[in-house]
C-alpha cells in the first residue's frame, strides 16, 4: 500500500486516477525533491505546479527582491509583495497552495562555490535563471553530478525547453557550446517578454519534471523544443551528445566549474 494519507489521496485524486501516475506515481512525487533556480518568470509557474502536484520537498534559490515590473509575468508574487525577497514571497505563496510540501529557501546567489553541494541534495534541477553565466554553471554542475536538469529560456515571444540527464543525454553545451558574445543577446529587461510566454515555458518545465519523477512518458532528452508564440508553433530540434562537448564530451576541457563574468566581460573557460 502507498504511504499517502486520506487527505493526500483526496487532494491528488486527479493525478491518482490517471493510470500512468496512480498511487505509485504520487508516492514518488511525495518522496521526490526538486531545486528551482530562480523564482521569477519561469520559476513562478514551475514552482506553482510542482507545489500543487505534491512534490515532497522543493528548494528555491533566489537572491532578488520583488519589483513592480516583475508582476506582469512572475505570478507567484502579488502587489503587496513588492520589496519582499522573492524566495520568501514564493515560499509564502507555495505554503498557501499546498502546506504539505516542504520548502527550502536559499536567499543567496548560485555560484561555483555553493552549487555542487546544493545540487546534490535534489533529484531534479529546474533552470529558471535570467543570465547566461548561471545557466552554464547549472548545466556544468548537473553534468558533473549526473543530475536531471530541465532547461528553460524565454525572450520576447519565444521560448525554449530541454531536458537533460547529466552525463547521459545531450547537455546545454552540446547545443550551445559557449555563451553568446557580449552585446548579441538582449535580456528580457532590454527586449521585453510577453508575460504568458513565461507561463507556457515554466509550465512545460514543471511538466517535464513531473514526467521525469514519475517515469511517465518520454521526457525531452536529446531534444530541444522551441516555442514561437507569434506563430503559435513549436519546433523540435534533435540534439545529440557532442563528442567534442567541453563538459560532457570524450575529452572534456571543463573539469572544474567555471563561472563566466556577470559584468559582461565574458571569457572563455580556462582563460
Amino acid at each position: 500500500m502507498f504511504n499517502l494519507t486520506e487527505e493526500e489521496i483526496e487532494r491528488y485524486s486527479r493525478h491518482i486516477i490517471l493510470p500512468e501516475v496512480g498511487g505509485r506515481g504520487q508516492q514518488k512525487l511525495k518522496e521526490a525533491s526538486v531545486l528551482v533556480v530562480g523564482a521569477g518568470g519561469l520559476g513562478s509557474p514551475a514552482l506553482l505546479y510542482l507545489t500543487a502536484a505534491g512534490v515532497g520537498r522543493i528548494g528555491i534559490i533566489e537572491d532578488d527582491v520583488v519589483d513592480l515590473t516583475n508582476l506582469q509575468r512572475q505570478v507567484l508574487h502579488a502587489t503587496a509583495d513588492v520589496g519582499k525577497p522573492k524566495a520568501q514571497s514564493a515560499s509564502e505563496t507555495m505554503k498557501q497552495i499546498n502546506p504539505l510540501v516542504e520548502v527550502d529557501v536559499y536567499r543567496e546567489r548560485l555560484n561555483k562555490d555553493n552549487i555542487l553541494p546544493l545540487v546534490e541534495k535534489y533529484d531534479v534541477v529546474v533552470d529558471g535563471v535570467d543570465n547566461f553565466p548561471t545557466r552554464y554553471l547549472i548545466n556544468d554542475a548537473c553534468v558533473m553530478k549526473k543530475k536531471a536538469l530541465v532547461e528553460g529560456g524565454i525572450l520576447r515571444f519565444m521560448g525554449l525547453i530541454m531536458s537533460i540527464r547529466g552525463g547521459e543525454t545531450a547537455c546545454y553545451r552540446c547545443v550551445y557550446e559557449e555563451p553568446p558574445p557580449p552585446g548579441t543577446v538582449p535580456s528580457c529587461a532590454e527586449a521585453g517578454i510577453l508575460g504568458a510566454v513565461a507561463g507556457v515555458v515554466g509550465t512545460l518545465q514543471a511538466t517535464e519534471v513531473l514526467k521525469i519523477l514519475t517515469g511517465v512518458g518520454k521526457p525531452l532528452f536529446n531534444r530541444m523544443l522551441q516555442f514561437d508564440a507569434e506563430e503559435l508553433s513549436f519546433h523540435e530540434v534533435q540534439a545529440k551528445r557532442n563528442p567534442k562537448c567541453p563538459v560532457c564530451g570524450e575529452n572534456p576541457t571543463i573539469t572544474e566549474l567555471v563561472e563566466y563574468d556577470h559584468t559582461c566581460e565574458i571569457q572563455a573557460p580556462g582563460s
Binding site: 533552470d127 535563471v129 535570467d130 543570465n131 547566461f132 548561471t134 545557466r135 532547461e151 528553460g152 529560456g153 524565454i154 525572450l155 520576447r156 519565444m158 521560448g159 525554449l160 547545443v175 550551445y176 555563451p179 553568446p180 558574445p181 557580449p182 552585446g183 548579441t184 543577446v185 538582449p186 535580456s187 528580457c188 529587461a189 532590454e190 527586449a191 530541444m224 522551441q226 514561437d228 507569434e230 506563430e231 519546433h235 523540435e236 530540434v237 534533435q238 559584468t263 559582461c264 565574458i266
Partner: protein, 85 residues
C-alpha cells in the same frame, strides 16, 4: 517569425526549396547562410545555425551556400542578457 516567400513569383530568379525550422519554404535570395539569416529581419535574434543537423561555424556563414532541399534550423539563444555593452 519567418518571412520567407512561399512560392516563386513570375520573372524572379529561381530560388531554393528549403526546410526552415521544420517548414517547407521557397527561398529567393543570395544562397549564403548569412543572407538567409538577414532575410529574417529583426525577429531573428542571435542564433547558432544547423544545416542538415550539423552546427555551422559562425565564421562560415558568408561562405557556405545553401543547396536545394537543405534543412536549416536556428538555435536561438534565450535566457538572459549577454549584456548590451
Amino acid at each position: 517569425m519567418l518571412s520567407l516567400k512561399n512560392e516563386a513569383a513570375a520573372g524572379e530568379a529561381p530560388g531554393l526549396n528549403l526546410e526552415v525550422q521544420g517548414r517547407k519554404v521557397y527561398y529567393q535570395g543570395p544562397a549564403d547562410v548569412r543572407s538567409l539569416l538577414d532575410s529574417q529581419g529583426e525577429s531573428v535574434l542571435y542564433a547558432n545555425v544547423r544545416i542538415n543537423g550539423s552546427v555551422l561555424d559562425r565564421r562560415d556563414f558568408e561562405n557556405v551556400l545553401l543547396k536545394e532541399g537543405d534543412s536549416v534550423e536556428f538555435l536561438y539563444f534565450m535566457g538572459g542578457g549577454s549584456c548590451s555593452t
